[in-house]
Amino acid sequence: MKEAAAGKSSLTPIFPAMAGSRLLRPSIPFRFFGAAVIFHVGAWIALFIGADATPRFAGGLGWPLVVLHFVTLGVLAMSAIGASLQLLPVATRRSVGSERWPAAIWWLYTPGVAMTALGMGTGAVTALAAGAVAVVAALGIYAALLARNLVGAKGMPVVVAHGWAALASLAIVLATALALAGAYAGAPTLDRATVIGLHVVFAAYGFMGMLALGLSYILVPMYALSAAPAERPAWASFALAVLALLLAGAAALDFAPVALRTAAAAAGLASVALHLHLMTTALRTGMRRHLGRSFTLVRVAWAMLVASLLLALALVFDAPVDGLATSFGVVVIGGWLLTFLLGILQRIVPFLASMHAGQVGTRGRGLPPTPSALTAARPLAIHFACHLAALALLALAVAVDSALAIRAAAALGTAGALAFGAFFAAAMRRMRRPQAPAGTAAMPGS
């Protein structure tokens, strides 16, 4: 290791020639994660601005819609693109190919999301439509990259199957998004309730949900150092999830909606039960069982996934609870998907950063930094407390119809999002700079 002895990363000259490799340059996934961090802050600020309209939000343009799309497009899909571009090639044993396309997606998608949200918040329909076209185009390119990677995939068939289901769901999400944006621009095509029904189900549980479940089969055993989850229940969970999506889709098209939505929720709950059994088994039997706050967030998210399906059932039967639809949105988007993502991101970011960090030395030994040396623990602790408190307060605020409580939740959420941003910035800074000369290795999993 002459390069190591010289204190210089031997990876540096290799990356420019890595077009055929499964290991992407750090700037590819991190640009998506960085944008997600900024949209995360923006979402909580938008919630503060739109507090009055949030507790009984029932669709339509305005700041609650901005919040929803800052989170779904700006944070969830943005991170999912970055993570899947790095993780799926590892699972499928196929490279992404040229890195120009992922970079082009970011340049198209990021301003597109901002413009779409701006249009939603201000009622500027032209901006909304232009932003939506950019977002759909970017996600279309992403879908093509994803499809190319999944075709001929060699490993992890259950992960690949989840990828295909996410891809099919994305196609429905994009079609319905264009229909909705077209309707706002004065060109209605399909029945609005049908389009919204399809859009919500296939965005939350289809595209994002199937990616989250599928990537969990890579990430959870990897971090827990457990054996691979049993294949048969994983396939059963997948089949039930697809069945749930198909039933919910048919219900949105107004075929026996109550019966089919009930069956969809039941199939979804059965799918989730199997998935969580596999995940908790991996965590219980893995060689690393103490995975810290990040996996506490993941466990909270799993509980919220179950809660979201129960709330969906309550919606189907029109339970006499005020603000039920908004509560469902808070639980499925904030409780399940956002919490899950933030838990996983705080593991992925230092892990990837440590792979790309220069050998700038810990304790003057010329060694690359460890993931824990790149993790700012205090901001993560602040984020943990603020995020969970904000979500709890948000759920309470919706239940009691309090704009004041929404503002308090938004303030807490903003503080948490800024703390998460500080963690991300610290990881990026430490990845590039010499490490503090200290015994930096903390207890792994802390």
């Binding site: 290791m1 390069e3 190591a4 990363s9 031997s10 990876l11 290799i14 990356f15 020639a17 890595m18 055929g20 490799s21 499964r22 290991l23 590892v90 044993r93 490279s95 060699k154 490993g155 890579i218 055993p221 990897m222 971090y223 150092l225 054996a227 691979a228 060689m287 690393r288 892990f351 440590s354 792979m355 050998q359 030994r365 010329g366 060694l367 690359p368 460890t370 993931p371 824990s372 015994g439 930096t440 290795a441 903390a442 207890m443 792994p444």
Partner: protein, 164 residues
């Protein structure tokens, strides 16, 4: 992950054995107070096991991967991953070199309090580096071998590994 190739399974078994020992040492350090480390017979015995692993197993395992597997990875267009894993080997070897004399001294009950602190710190770092490294090998190297090796190559490599 579950592996079909003999050499993948053998390396996976060694990873697990290594992590098992490191995990036991880490847990023992975590639950033993600073003042009690020097007189703890169980900790001294574990330090002896750790010294054995650092002295023999890590070098043998890493040498085999670097000699037999990483060139195949590079030939398959994954030179970046091979270089990354090689760098991590170098880092782990460096930390192991720090920990080895301390572990030997701990095993022989000749380590002072400052030495126990240093051994604890080095062990924690070793655990973290090994965990992150094994996660990458489990995700990237071992599955790749399933594609790269045919049965004859797998048998030859498994033999070379066993006799190495």
């Amino acid at each position: 992950m579950s592996f079909q190739r003999q050499v993948s399974r053998a390396l996976d078994d060694e990873h697990r054995a290594s992590l098992d020992l490191l995990g036991r040492v880490e847990s023992a350090f975590a639950r033993t107070g600073r003042a009690r480390m020097a007189g703890d017979a169980g900790l001294a015995r574990l330090a002896g096991e750790l010294a054995g692993q650092l002295e023999q197993e890590i070098g043998r395992h890493f040498d085999f991967e670097e000699r037999e597997l990483f060139p195949r990875l590079a030939d398959a267009g994954e030179g970046g991953i091979a270089a990354l894993l090689t760098e991590e080997h170098a880092a782990i070897r460096a930390v192991a070199a720090e920990a080895l004399p301390l572990a030997r001294a701990a095993s022989a009950a000749t380590l002072d309090a400052a030495g126990w602190d240093a051994l604890k710190r080095a062990t924690f770092e070793l655990v973290e580096r090994q965990v992150a490294h094994i996660q990458k090998e489990t995700m990237a190297l071992l599955p790749m071998l399933e594609d790269l090796l045919d049965e004859d190559a797998d048998r030859e490599l498994a033999f070379a590994h066993a006799s190495g």
